[in-house]
Symmetry: C2
Subunit: 285 residues, 2 copies
């Protein structure tokens, strides 16, 4: 037997978060905050490095500190995969520690042909009990479909990403329609999945795009990275991106995780999370 088998026998809980529950949480907490759990060993407070699993210890304290102020957590798989097979145990423990009170997004940016895509979806939804997976749309409908076939599970499809490279292909215009590629992705994918199944990634670094986004997908949730370390303007995004449900999950990772470097790091994270939440509360009142 492989050394991990006893871990895999752990009893699973069923974790599904539907749209009305998410909206309820947003309204009750007056928050659209998503905390990106992207832990880098080299950035962790030194005193944690003695723990059995420093990354899990870090995540646990960040979760305890920030959970009153956020409605979602988004672990980016790159940070766990980089730790080797052990990193996947840390990821699993983190998701289980979060539990069912918060929406959990596996930021994995998957996308593969049908049978392979189905395996990815099964893994993140059924093995690791995430509510949503981020999906790259390049391979088209049969690569997105596997992520929207389970009730209460979500595909979050990349539309207009927050990075500089978003100019290379996403902003090109299509000959027949005059629409950009990212608009074309919105148009196509909203026909494949309802606002109960699909969200879209739209980076906070493009506030000018949100009016167009909302004209194409008025009801879908948007996952908005790029506030904080990447420089996106939270107020601008709330003004142009919200709908009657709130309709946004606004992600901050580094600005929250590394708000402090010492033994009071979790307290500093809570302060930053609360600051963002209170800024959002103005728009949710």
């Amino acid at each position: 037997m492989n050394p991990l088998s006893p871990q895999l026998a752990v009893i699973r809980y069923i974790c599904v978060m539907k749209r009305n529950e998410l909206i309820h949480n947003i309204q009750q907490k007056k928050s659209m905050l998503c905390v990106g759990l992207d832990p880098e060993l080299r950035l962790l407070p030194a005193h944690l490095l003695e723990a059995d699993d420093p990354v899990f210890e870090f995540n646990k304290q960040i979760i305890d500190a920030t959970k009153p102020y956020c409605v979602a957590y988004k672990p980016n798989l790159a940070f766990y995969e980089a730790l080797g097979p052990n990193g996947w145990i840390t990821f699993q423990k983190t998701v289980e520690y979060i539990g069912s009170s918060h929406f959990i997004i596996a930021d994995a940016k998957r996308g593969d042909i049908g049978n392979t895509g189905r395996l990815y979806a099964e893994t993140f939804f059924n093995r690791y009990h995430c509510d949503a997976v981020t999906v790259a749309p390049y391979m088209g409908e049969d690569s997105v479909a596997p992520f929207i076939s389970e009730e209460g599970k979500w595909a979050i499809v990349l539309a207009l990403t927050s990075n500089q490279g978003s100019s290379n292909f996403q902003k090109l215009s299509v000959e027949t329609s005059g629409l950009t590629i990212w608009e074309t992705v919105l148009m196509a994918v909203q026909q494949w999945g309802t606002p109960d199944q699909v969200m879209f990634v739209v980076g906070a670094t493009h506030p000018e795009a949100f009016i167009k986004v909302r004209s194409i997908v008025p009801d879908h949730f948007l996952l908005v990275p790029g506030v904080g370390a990447q420089g996106g303007d939270l107020d601008a995004i709330c003004r142009v991106g919200m709908n009657r449900d709130g309709g946004l999950l606004i992600n901050a990772s580094r600005s929250i995780l590394y708000a402090g470097k010492n033994s009071d790091f979790a307290e500093k994270s809570a302060e930053e999370a609360r600051r963002l939440q209170q800024q959002m509360a103005i728009y949710l009142s």
Copy 2:
């Protein structure tokens, strides 16, 4: 400590395969065959299920049987990730078992912003010692760049994929140039990475596209999935896709892995791999 730590202490070998070595192997073996290592538990021969690690046992026998006939192996990460943290140990053992004689492609279809992309590249190149990673181009240059910054390591960028969904976005025409998106990806990415750093995925299900592909990237290697179970025509692909170096890595997965279902499965795999190799040899003479 996590239960896996002893495994992580295994001493690593350095594995780099440059272009001239790959070309040498192709010419010497008269083969451009890449075997896709996509093992599904439910499809494994029943007698293997008693092994400690059935998937590794399966891979080992497939590798032993097919290595004279192929120049590359391509494990698709979906199949390992689906097995939980243990699956990553199986993946690691598989890559180490293949060793440095064959080109190893991590079919992971990654793509994320700069710092996160760098982590993915480090993981597959330095932790798992793969030669190449498949990369989705949607997020643009800064998501591809991390995979082409190490000498002897490769990004294999999705251009025109073999699945039906390739029609949704890849085949759209861009307004200013009249080129399709997949042609635009070829044009852009070949400026980011030389034929020593970058390959492209072009599906065997689009034989008509290879003339155009070769007019844009005459010297780059192409990874060609879709022969075999997906119905691509090997002869047609060789006629229109090859360059003076061979220039193709033609992948077959299911047709080789599941050529037999009983205790002679590896023998049947070898037969199928040899059949494909001999068909390629005609074009490599």
